[in-house]
Structure formats: C-alpha cells, structure tokens
C-alpha cells in the first residue's frame, strides 16, 4: 500500500525518525525546529511505543541525554535551531570522540535570512568540526527517506550523524510517501569503558580512531545516491547545488546544464573534479555560509573560476531564492508590476493583554528616573520590548546573556544594571549566571518575566514552571530581595515600588512578575470549551 502524507519538512523528519525505530527525541524549542518534537509528542505510534519526547531544559541537556540513550543501545534524535548547536557543542563534539552505540542523529535547523534568529551560522561547519557525516535533504521526501539512512549510518560508523535543514524546508509542506515502521532497538548498553571514559589516554586513542575513520566516511559520502552528478553539455558553467539549492537550480536552469547535487557530506571530491573537467567554470549554490564554495576552490587549480556567494554572483547574506539563483545563472525573473509604494513594515508585537507589557510599562516608568540605567534583555517574546512603544531593552545577544551581561556591566561600575529574562530562558541558561552574580554579590536587579510557558515558539512546557522562587533561593538569592508580583495594571504602583527599592539595593535582587501567557490561556479555555 502506498501511504502518502502532506507533511512539513519538520514533520517529515519526525515521521522518518519514528519509522526508523526511534526510542527518544530530546529537544529545546526553537524556530524553525520546534514542529519536529511536537509532531512526535502527538503521534499515536510514539505513544504506543513509549517514545520519550518531553521538552528538555536546553540543547546541552538534550544532547547528553540522547547520547545516554544511544549508550544504552537505542536510537535517539536531538533537535534544535542552529544557535542551539552552540549550546550543546561540548557534548556534540565529544560524542564524536566517544562514538555512539545506538544510532544518534542530531538535527540542526538553520535560519538563513534570520526569519526568527540572531545570526545565519551554518551548522555544516559543526559537522566538519566534529568530523562526522552531514546530511542535507533537498525535499520533504528526501528528509523522510534520509532519516532511516542517517540512523543506519550512525550505527554503521558508530558516530553521531548531523542532519542540517533550513527554514524553507522545515516550514514547507509537500506530499511524502512513508514506509512501514522499523522495530525499535532493544536495550543493549555499551560494554567497552575505554571508548566512553575520555581520560587523555583513552581520548587520544579515540581521537586517532576518529581521524582514521575519515577515509571510510568520505568513501560512503562519495557513493551516496543522494549525491548525483548529471553531466550535460560540455563547457560553460557547471553547478554544485547543495540541499534545497538544488530545487532552485532545477527551477531556473536549462535542462542541459551539468549539475552536481550534494546532500551528503563530506563533499564528494571526485565528482566535483569530474564536473570541473566537464565544464569551464563552476557556480556553487548553497543556503547559508560559503562552506562548499571554499572547499571547491581548494580542490581545483587556482585559476579555475569558482563562483558563488563570495564572488557576488549570489548574495553573501540571506537565503537563496528562485530570483537570486536565476540572477546567478544570468537569467532575470522580471516583475510585471513594480513594487507598491503604499506599503509599511508590519513588525510583530507583544499581544494585547500580555503580562510582559505591564512589566515594561512599570520598568520604563522607574528607569526614566535613572538616566544611567541600562536594561539587558534576553531571547523570547519579551525581546519585542526593544521595539516601539516600549523600547525598553538595550541588549539581546544569546540565551541567558541578560543576567551575565548585567553582572559584567555592574562589575565595571554601571548602575543600575537590570536584567530582563523569560522563565524558560532562565532555566535554559540563566541560572548559572545568577549563581555567579550571587557569589560576587553583584548589584544587579533581575526580572524573571514568568508567563508559565515557552511562548515565543508557540507555548511549549517551560522546564521550571512553579519552581522559580525555589531555584532562586537555592542559588543564594536572599529571601527579602526575592519578590513575586502579578503584572496587571492594578498592581503597577506596587511593582514600581519594588523595582525602585531593589535598584537601590547593593546586591542581587530578583523580581518575578508571574502571569499566564495570554495565548496559552486562550488555547486552554478553548480546549475546555470543546
């Protein structure tokens, strides 16, 4: 029976993992990766098989737990957005040194054009860095099919396998033909300690073995069927098309152009040389950073022309589009109608009735009386407080940086130094920084704006809900400088008083404005009504 499902790229990944005999998915929500874990959480097969799928506190705890499941012999998937790779990098890179037991697939969803991110980093670098295979599907169907290959490859090589997707695949739907689900692996823990105890003596041996494996990793990539060399007319431009770049090439290039489709790294070097010999110049079409372009240049003689993102043929920043790929191929997609004049930007904003609004209202009123004050922001819905009408935060860098940057600025003599962080971001990466501040008795005021959910990504469970006071007290925040308030207009007076009082305190204070996310609240009421 042919079974076809209409799936987002994220859902195709999830269905592929389930059908490959997954035993656990470990993830922290992050656009554009969130729907992978959500799909597994709601899938009947996952329920029937007891696939572990609850949200993790951050990407590092996710990666390590998945490695533990792999150690025990079962198949595990770790999902995150690209910047999550930075958080779990320690575990990821060292998992390549220990190696794995049950299949371990790490999925990174990159966000070229930064639709909802703070940078455009390319996760393929992490694959090279850790020296593991990288898979980059070009379509929803390939994403599904590759998942079972990825787990099999991971078990064959005894290494984690990185799968990299981008926003346009993650959040695009297409029909996917699915197979029958494979059985899960039985419990079968690793037996050899020397692989897993990375004392220098063992680590040197393991690292040497990883380096030695590279030849086999390259051989497998060179033979992979998802890497396809199609030779067309001789001479002229040949195209190296990576991941979904292949789609744009197929959309705009004429049928007789020579194309090397790349979906499995390391780069198939022999195919690149063959393409180069057949053509007189190469164009590299890849979403993200010029990872392949620079490698291709290294493979060919200095005077062989290689074009791409570093030569201006494609833009150096931003995602690929059918328009910029057409331009790189010397074709222009012409518009029939000019861009309209009467169009204004419509940025996202905090919802009406959102508790973060009341927090910023109160904070702005107090801060206006302290011209030297700086407010260090963090990552979540409340980052929108940077935009009008509030314009309440001065920084937003990475998960947890509000507390630590406020601390560093306070160390430098800045006062008042105020941090604003959300509940989920606080447990993700804020707690350790708060401990530093407590140990140093840094004069900072931390506002943990608690809406009892991970709101920005659509309302996932937040790891520390109902535990924030206990966590702060346990980290050493003094009882009299820890306040829980309800951010509502009627409480403005009280909230302002507390903020003012704690700014004046020369140590660590924590204020927790706590109120349900208005979206989560509405969704819950709707469910009850049904």
């Amino acid at each position: 029976m042919v079974n076809k499902l209409l799936l987002l790229g994220d859902e195709a990944v999830a269905q592929g993992a389930l059908d490959a005999g997954l035993s656990g998915v470990y993830a922290y929500p992050g656009t554009p990766s969130t729907e992978i874990t959500e799909y597994i959480q709601q899938h009947p097969l996952a329920r029937e098989r007891g696939v572990r799928s609850r949200w993790c506190t951050n990407e590092k705890t996710a990666m390590e737990a998945a490695l533990g499941m792999s150690y025990a012999g079962r198949r595990a998937l770790v999902c995150m957005k690209h910047v999550g790779m930075n958080v779990c990098a320690d575990a990821f890179v060292n998992a390549a040194v220990t190696g794995v037991n049950g299949g371990l697939v790490v999925l990174a969803a990159d966000d070229p054009s930064m639709h909802s991110s703070q940078n455009e980093q390319d996760s393929r670098f992490y694959g090279r860095f850790a020296m593991v295979p990288v898979l980059e599907p070009s379509s929803q169907q390939e994403a599904y099919d590759m998942m079972s290959d990825a787990f099999a490859l991971s078990e064959r090589l005894q290494l984690p396998v990185l799968m990299r997707i981008v926003t346009r695949l993650a959040h695009s739907r297409a029909a996917v033909q699915v197979d029958i689900a494979r059985a899960q692996n039985p419990l079968s823990p690793a037996a050899d300690r020397t692989h897993w105890v990375l004392l220098p003596g063992n680590a040197r041996r393991q690292y040497a073995a990883l380096v030695e494996k590279q030849a086999e990793i390259k051989r497998i990539a060179a033979a992979a069927t998802c890497n396809q060399l199609t030779l067309g007319r001789r001479g002229g431009v040949g195209i190296v098309a990576c991941g979904i770049g292949y789609n744009y090439v197929r959309e705009v290039a004429s049928a007789d152009v020579s194309v090397l489709k790349v979906s499995h790294y390391p780069l198939p070097e022999a195919s690149v040389r063959q393409l180069a010999a057949h053509c007189s110049e190469l164009l590299v079409v890849e979403d993200g950073q010029p990872v392949v372009e620079e490698q291709v240049r290294g493979l060919l003689p200095d005077d062989y022309p290689v074009c791409g993102r570093t030569t201006g043929h494609l833009p150096r920043t931003g995602e690929l589009t059918p328009d910029n790929v057409a331009h790189a191929l010397g074709k222009e997609n012409r518009r029939a109608f000019d861009k309209a004049v009467n169009v204004a930007a419509r940025p996202p904003q905090l919802c009406h009735g959102c508790g973060h609004r009341d927090v910023y209202e109160a904070l702005n009123q107090v801060v206006s009386q302290y011209p030297a004050a700086r407010v260090f922001g963090d990552i979540g819905c409340y980052t929108l407080g940077a935009l009008p009408p509030y314009q309440a935060i001065d920084t937003c860098v990475d998960m947890g940086a509000s507390i630590t940057m406020a601390k560093g600025a306070a160390d430098a003599g800045l006062h008042p130094a105020i941090a604003v962080i959300g509940d989920s971001t606080f447990t993700h990466s804020g707690m350790t920084g708060l401990l530093d501040a407590v140990n140093d008795q840094s004069p900072i005021t931390v506002i943990i704006s608690d809406n009892l959910t991970t709101a920005m990504t659509g309302g996932q469970d937040s790891a520390g809900t109902h535990k924030y006071e206990a966590i702060c007290l346990a980290l050493g925040v003094e009882r009299e400088h820890l306040h829980v308030v309800v951010p509502l207009p009627k409480n403005m007076e009280e909230i302002r008083r507390i903020i003012r009082q704690e700014i004046e305190y020369q140590g660590v204070s924590v204020i927790i404005p706590q109120r349900d996310c208005i979206q989560a609240y509405a969704r819950r009421n709707k469910q009850v009504a049904h």
Binding site: T34, A174, P322, A344, R346
Partner: protein
C-alpha cells in the same frame, strides 16, 4: 498546468486555513503541491505570508519567483500590495478591502485602494462585513476563498467545497455549514 498562489495577511487572520483547504483539495485531486509557511515571530500581529504552488508536474522550488504568481489571496489590502511584484501580467489580486491597522504609520487607505485598483485584475470586497451580515463572523476567510475560487482554475468549486467539509468536519456540522455558506457568498459576489 501550474498555479502559483501568494497568500497574505496579518497573524491570526486565518490565511493558513485557506492554505489548508486548497492543499486538501489539491491532494485529493492528485496534484503536486508545495506550501511554504512562515512561523514564529510573524504570528504576533506581524505580516504573514505563504507560498502555495500547485501543478500537474513536479514542483521544485518551495518559493514563488518574482513576476510568476498567478494569484494573490490576501486578508488585508496593504498585505496584498506588499506582494504585487510577484504577480504575473495576467495574475489576479483577490483581497479583503478592510484595512487592519495595528501600526502607527499605516499608509493612507485611499492611496492603498488606488494602487490596488490600478492593477488590471483585482477583486476587492469587505469580506468581514459580508461575514458579519450573514451571521458567520468567524468565516470571513472562507468568503475570501470563495472570491478567489474562479481564479484558482486548477481546482473547481466543488473540489474546494469537499475540502472545506474534510478540513472542518472535526469541528462539527455548524462550522462546516458556516464555512460552506461563506464560500458560496464569496463565489457569487465575485461574478465578473
């Protein structure tokens, strides 16, 4: 045969439901389909858009190229204007006429209407008013789908009606019949 459709609106207006209905109809009809959505940030009162591509042949790109869309379906007039450079020469813009103003620098409403009316093929209706007058205020997006139905071309009205039934059936018979009524109101309002 192919149809490239740009769907646009403001977060929460229901453009993804329109995409879901067309997608369901296309799948039932055995058409190839790709539908790119924007999630995350844009849901908070920001602009949202979705590229929906239908074809009898395989589709490669998830995104529609400049100058190649056959149809813009928009829940909001300025959001329709945002994408006119994607429209092909014979393409139609089908849009709600009532502005959704949640930004301080929203352009002059008459100027927006004027720019839209200058397009050779445009259909504009106050779908919220139609939905309200007919006591189906939550089905404005299906009025819009009804307006667009004759320009989708690759799918017939009956196929779209079946898809509305399939997509909304788990929400109960009332929701299905409201949405079918909305669809037919849009369809008959747009007789050119």
């Amino acid at each position: 045969m192919k149809k490239d459709i740009k769907l646009s609106g403001v977060g929460g207006q229901g453009i993804l439901s329109i995409a879901t209905v067309i997608g369901e109809a296309a799948t039932e009809a055995g058409l190839q389909l790709k539908q790119a959505e924007v999630h995350g940030m844009s849901q908070r009162g920001g602009d949202v858009q979705s590229d929906l591509r239908l074809s009898t042949e395989p589709i490669f790109s998830d995104q529609i190229a400049t100058g190649q869309a056959d149809l813009i379906i928009s829940m909001e007039p300025m959001e329709a204007l945002r994408y006119v450079s994607y429209l092909n020469r014979d393409g139609w813009a089908v849009t709600a006429s009532r502005p959704f103003i949640n930004i301080p620098d929203y352009p002059d409403e008459e100027a927006i209407r004027g720019e839209l009316s200058a397009l050779p093929h445009v259909a504009m209706l106050d779908i919220e008013a139609i939905a309200r007058e007919n006591h189906i205020p939550k089905s404005a997006n299906m009025v819009l789908l009804g307006m667009a139905a004759r320009y989708i071309g690759i799918l017939g009205a009956d196929q779209l009606r079946d898809a509305i039934r399939a997509v909304f059936c788990r929400k109960g018979e009332q929701v299905v019949s409201d949405n079918l009524k909305a669809f037919d109101l849009g369809l008959s309002a747009c007789t050119i």
